[in-house]
Symmetry: C2
Subunit: 586 residues, 2 copies
Amino acid sequence: MTTYNAPVEEMMFLFDHLKDNKNYNEIEKFKEINSELVKDILIQAAKLNQEVIHPLAKIGDEKPCIYENGIVRSPPGYKEAYKKFINEGWTSLSCDPKYGGQGMPKTVSTFFEEMLSSASLSFKLYSELSIGAYNCILQHADEKIKTTFLPKIVEGKWSGTMCLTESQCGTDLGLIKTKALKQKDGSFSLSGQKIFITSGDHDLTENIIHLVLAKIPGSPEGTKGISLFLVPKFNVNDDGEVGTRNGVSTLSIETKMGIKGSPTCVLNFDNAKGFLIGKENKGLSSMFTMMNLERIIVGIQGLGIAETAFQNSVAYAKERKQGKSNNNADNKTDAILKHADIRRSLMNMKSIIEGQRSLAFWLSQQVDVSLNHPNKEIKKEAEEIVSLMTPVIKSFFSDSGMEITNEAIQVFGGYGYTKDQGIEQLYRDNRITPIYEGTNSVQAIDLVFRKVLNNKILNKFIKIINNEIDNNQSNNDLKNFSNILKKNVKTLTDFSNWLEEKNKNKKDDVSSACNDFLKVLGYISLGFAWFKMTKVSLKKTNENKNFYEEKINTAKYYFEKISPRIESHYNSAISGSESLMKAKFN
Amino acid sequence: MTTYNAPVEEMMFLFDHLKDNKNYNEIEKFKEINSELVKDILIQAAKLNQEVIHPLAKIGDEKPCIYENGIVRSPPGYKEAYKKFINEGWTSLSCDPKYGGQGMPKTVSTFFEEMLSSASLSFKLYSELSIGAYNCILQHADEKIKTTFLPKIVEGKWSGTMCLTESQCGTDLGLIKTKALKQKDGSFSLSGQKIFITSGDHDLTENIIHLVLAKIPGSPEGTKGISLFLVPKFNVNDDGEVGTRNGVSTLSIETKMGIKGSPTCVLNFDNAKGFLIGKENKGLSSMFTMMNLERIIVGIQGLGIAETAFQNSVAYAKERKQGKSNNNADNKTDAILKHADIRRSLMNMKSIIEGQRSLAFWLSQQVDVSLNHPNKEIKKEAEEIVSLMTPVIKSFFSDSGMEITNEAIQVFGGYGYTKDQGIEQLYRDNRITPIYEGTNSVQAIDLVFRKVLNNKILNKFIKIINNEIDNNQSNNDLKNFSNILKKNVKTLTDFSNWLEEKNKNKKDDVSSACNDFLKVLGYISLGFAWFKMTKVSLKKTNENKNFYEEKINTAKYYFEKISPRIESHYNSAISGSESLMKAKFN
């Protein structure tokens, strides 16, 4: 079985030394969230995740959810753990105190998301979409709905889902068939079938609050005629407690490659009572409130699982003895950690993980600013950066999670392929992350067409990186890194100019370049994150040589060994789309 | 469930148009193996693999091997299929007619290996190591052993294993503990425990012939004191039939990520009777006869699984309708095959698969020459090329198999993650190929230190590529491709010079560059393969426009979109090993 130790020191490094940001500092309510408080929270979170939740990962894989007679049962131990989880208040961490939340910033809650992903993705998914539902209801529902549903969700007694996909429509939501008929009392009656619904049914909470996309008859065709509805599993009485069963039933659950402890349901809505959230036909944009924050969290899932893979690989490499390294001194068999090639694998993992954690922290700050800053313009700017980086975090982190769990299996050799070690499970569990909440290709298309070409947000991000480089021109220790970063930013600029040009009359060139562009932006963002970490580490070296020298060394690894990938993606992309469009695939 | 159609046309294209090779043509016994005969064989093989064997893939995954009371039972249907398999003579395909074989060249049997890998890797593994054992016995055992064991193995009534790994030693075979004590009758008594033994026990054959590495007490330390023994599950009577049970028992089978229809056994040898194969203490080099051919076949496994993933992805992409492509004409939802990014994924798969099939065909010829050519020098030259390319085929093809099965899951979206479709199984089944028969990192180290640095074989391969380029200088249609290939060969040369230089006093630089070097050589070899296919296709276009134009187009894709990866590996590698060797991993 895998072990997990929450990287509290790494997280506190970010919170203590990379938090200084003018806009974030201006958010009144976060001024009291100090280092000591955050450390206390992280230590408690670590304890729960290490001791209670991590053991559930293997249990869920070996004893998956069961569907029987219309009822879904969670794996053994999940109920008890969930009870502890909500009793300790973890579902409420980042929620509004008005509805019982603790009001923590994303800078803090993102650390918790990572830990939970490291501990057990299956267990995490039971509460994850509740927070998505919370955000959506908070921003788009009327006050009555809010006061009825939010406190229970925040408390964790009720959970949430998002119901988008139907068998004929995944990416293309314009094809939705689920119908919503308006009733005399102002509510709606929903009928249709939804598939791939994470936590669509289970036995951990008293009630499940479905947020459902459906069409009101007579509304416009395609995505412009989709509305969003809140449909509870159990109707809610006037006293706020659960009442009769609503017309939602579970037809089956999927048998999957991984996340077997999480039920993926086919739900049938048969004249189910629902309430409109937001305006008619504006459902998709309301749902995107939920989707966008979820997409960032999916990226964090990849990061969290990668962290567990990395920790266990290092531990195994220290313990497993095999062969003699180049520097073997005593002619005895070396631990494989001594072998250069194993170290390369581990450094690949380490440099990507620590870079991504830092990037995620920075983006969490932008989310906090986008949600809470008093100045509208600053808020909007942050929103733009978040919208640019959301597909990057989602896709790049989840893909990296695959690369890292894959390398971890190799470090374990034959043992990595057996179920006992738990390493192959990380790989299987993570394999959903490049798919759900919009496949990584869809993210890449969203990034390029919507954010880069239509909204021209990229230049704002490039400016942020260039400022960072320019402000440190005089720092000779950073010279090597800033030179590489500069060169990479030049490639990014060339790439986006190429996209602009091709978008005029060779759209297929653009479409087929999206994935490569996302990767390029991802690696450059990591370079940006490493640049900032290095700057701090150079200053602080004497305070904790061991910690900061390792950071600087890892940055060096990143710039030298990982960033060359950027040119390869760029060169592949700009060769165009002629051959792939011409292919017949007979 | 997946479907599979054996790519007979693709295979016959290679056999008919890329077989012309002076050395190969000089092998007397293969002169009668003509196109018609091969096509007949492939069509029969296709029928068996498509109809009988492919359905076993899913069955084996859902109803894995069972270990109960010391006995291993294969999944339902495997026994019946195996009977048909040996009745049709498939185990004997490439074996020596002297022992009942059909004497087919590797150029033909490799196609069969690919088909079988595409159909069901688990089923394939029952017979695969028999051929390995056959080769090892054929080359190293005395005549009595040969006549006793080979006919039964060739016939498929007895199967074979290779027993190397013990819990404390995988890569580092010097750590082997299994002991072999010489008996008065000249036989040996073996005691010890072997793990990860593929097909170590099962119910498909009457007897199982283990080839076991063990130490004779008093022999030298490390790998220089290892001998090879033949240890049958059942002792063989003087009449050649199975007799009493030998002292080999099965302690358990592994629960694995994939290839669940294939039993991976822990075998206990308790005073088991064995026969020395080859000379005392020379066991490792004898075993490598088996290992080297096996390693090529593991590469072919990756290719075969990738082919199934590709075929199913194309079929799904033609059928699944979602969104509108850039070239949408009728405002109706398009099949996802119309989307540029999906086409890019499919072309990644296609260009790698067809390139690898062609490269494998070329290497099979080299194997045939190395085993059969009358001229010793020519034989040795071919042997060298085979030894250079063996780690490349093993690692590069198996890694590509991961990339391609991964892309296939993405094409299928959420459906790709469910067990129903069978796509995720391809990914899990293939995940063993980068591990077994020596992990891919071990292959890369073997390639660089043994083949490139010690034996200087690389230049011979570079010369072959350069000749190919030079001989086609006047062909203007090939100009673009030869320019790219030339540039890539330059990188390969620079890379190997860098390795030579660093090997003098910075061995860690070399060790940490091995994986990248293997990738570089792999991609260039594919370029070489595509170059030759293009040359033929340009000549033949008018004979079958549809087929040959698609080939030329796919070559274009390969050179433009895939080969840029080469520079990235090179640049990453030559940055050296300082940061990774310095890392502390505290």
